[in-house]
């Protein structure tokens, strides 16, 4: 498959476009944090980090790092005007209580019923769940951001996850480097495809059946 897939930053831009003005959003560790770089200045999106920061700002220059301030991945961050700090108990009360509008999480596998596996590979005997299970279950909408297939070409959108789950039936929309796919009670609906890709080509890399939306579009920014 030599066709071009979307670069991570373009995928991050596509997801950034989806976030609404005034919304509260949690970005998972790793590539989801890129999304914060592409919010236009006229749009206010407030980023929650589960370690008790509401109003995460951009990463600082090394000389401006604050030793007491990091995101959920332990990376130094800044805060926006109007940020505040809460404890872990209060931060996860917020998460569990369905107050976050969106969480953008990475994925190892997503099933056709919206199950998400993203915390441990079956082979490894021990792993860290961190806040992923709470967030997967707690945010009003879960967007998964991931490559459509593994490096070895294996399909990651599957009928049933064989990796241990993070959350059951929690995913709202899957954003990959090939497609945007909505999880619905009737199954997966293909909403958008990457430029140059056909629904059939995306289907070939997806285990469960994709219903092609009548409004199918090309992913645009």
């Amino acid at each position: 498959m030599n066709k071009e897939r979307l670069p991570r930053d373009v995928l991050a831009m596509r997801i950034a476009k989806e976030l609404e003005d005034g919304s509260y959003v949690n970005l998972g560790i790793g590539q989801p944090t890129l999304v914060a770089n592409y919010i236009p200045p006229e749009k206010l999106v407030i980023f929650h980090s589960e370690n008790g920061v509401i109003g995460v700002g951009p990463m600082p220059e090394p000389e401006d790092e604050d030793p007491d301030l990091c995101n959920a991945g332990g990376q130094p961050v800044t805060t926006i005007a109007g940020a505040c700090f809460v404890s872990h108990a209060d931060s996860f009360a917020l998460v569990r209580g369905r107050h976050l509008d969106v969480a953008v999480l990475g994925g190892l596998q997503v099933s056709e019923t919206g199950d998400l596996a993203n915390w441990i590979r079956p082979g490894r005997g021990v792993g860290g769940i961190g806040g992923a299970a709470d967030i997967a279950r707690g945010a009003k909408r879960i967007y998964v951001m991931m490559e459509h297939t593994t490096k070895d070409g294996e399909r990651k959108i599957v009928r049933r996850c064989d990796y241990p789950l993070t959350g059951q039936g929690v995913v709202h929309t899957i954003f990959t480097d090939l497609a945007v796919i909505r999880v619905t009670p009737q199954g997966l609906v293909l909403l958008e495809v990457a430029p140059g890709w056909t629904p059939e080509e995306v289907q070939a890399l997806t285990e469960p059946h994709l219903t092609v939306s009548p409004d199918l579009r090309e992913i645009a920014l």
Partner: protein, 227 residues
Amino acid sequence: MAGRPVYHNALEAIAGINDGATVMIGGFAARGVPTRLVLALRDRAPKDLTIITNDTSGGWGGRVDCSLLVEARLVRKVIASWPVPASTAVVTPLEQQLRAGEIELEVVPQGTLAERIRAAGAGIGAFYTPTGVGTPFAEGKEVRSIDGQDFLLEYPLSAGFALIRGFRADTLGNLVYRKAARNFNPPMATAARVTIAEVDAVVPAGDLDPEAVVTPGIYVHRLLVPE
């Protein structure tokens, strides 16, 4: 009584933490860790500890965290949400001890960990959470359907000691924190028989803004402060 006892020596501050103790330790990604207390605990070297903390993965640019207690082989059981690094490049002491069957590990979703600690401090006997339904974290747990949604029954986590990191204290033990160093410290302060807070400074009662106190002094039994 003038207020809560103030220690300058960390080993004196942790008096009473003996073999077999259960100890909560604040911190997240090596921020908000009570560094001097953790180092003193390593030096005191009680055996067979149960450690309740968010992460024992280590590797935060050489900062002190609880992984050094595991490395020193003082720990019988770890209860944490993030016990090992995401990367498998390094096999940590915890993983080595797990493989050798020398240590026990309970992995708890971070929000459930925080809520179980809060429940212990708040006198809640148990609670139903939606987190973890249908995942490996539901294994062996009671599932209950409430208003058509499934929940797992979770029990409180308490400890003999909590080692926490505050920013400033007053003489009554009231605490404020600094930025993301707050993290697990406030719920842990409420859930231990003896809570020991390491702070930068102790100010006279009345010098902290009463609206901004995060942990009331009733929860804080000893203070450790630099000379």
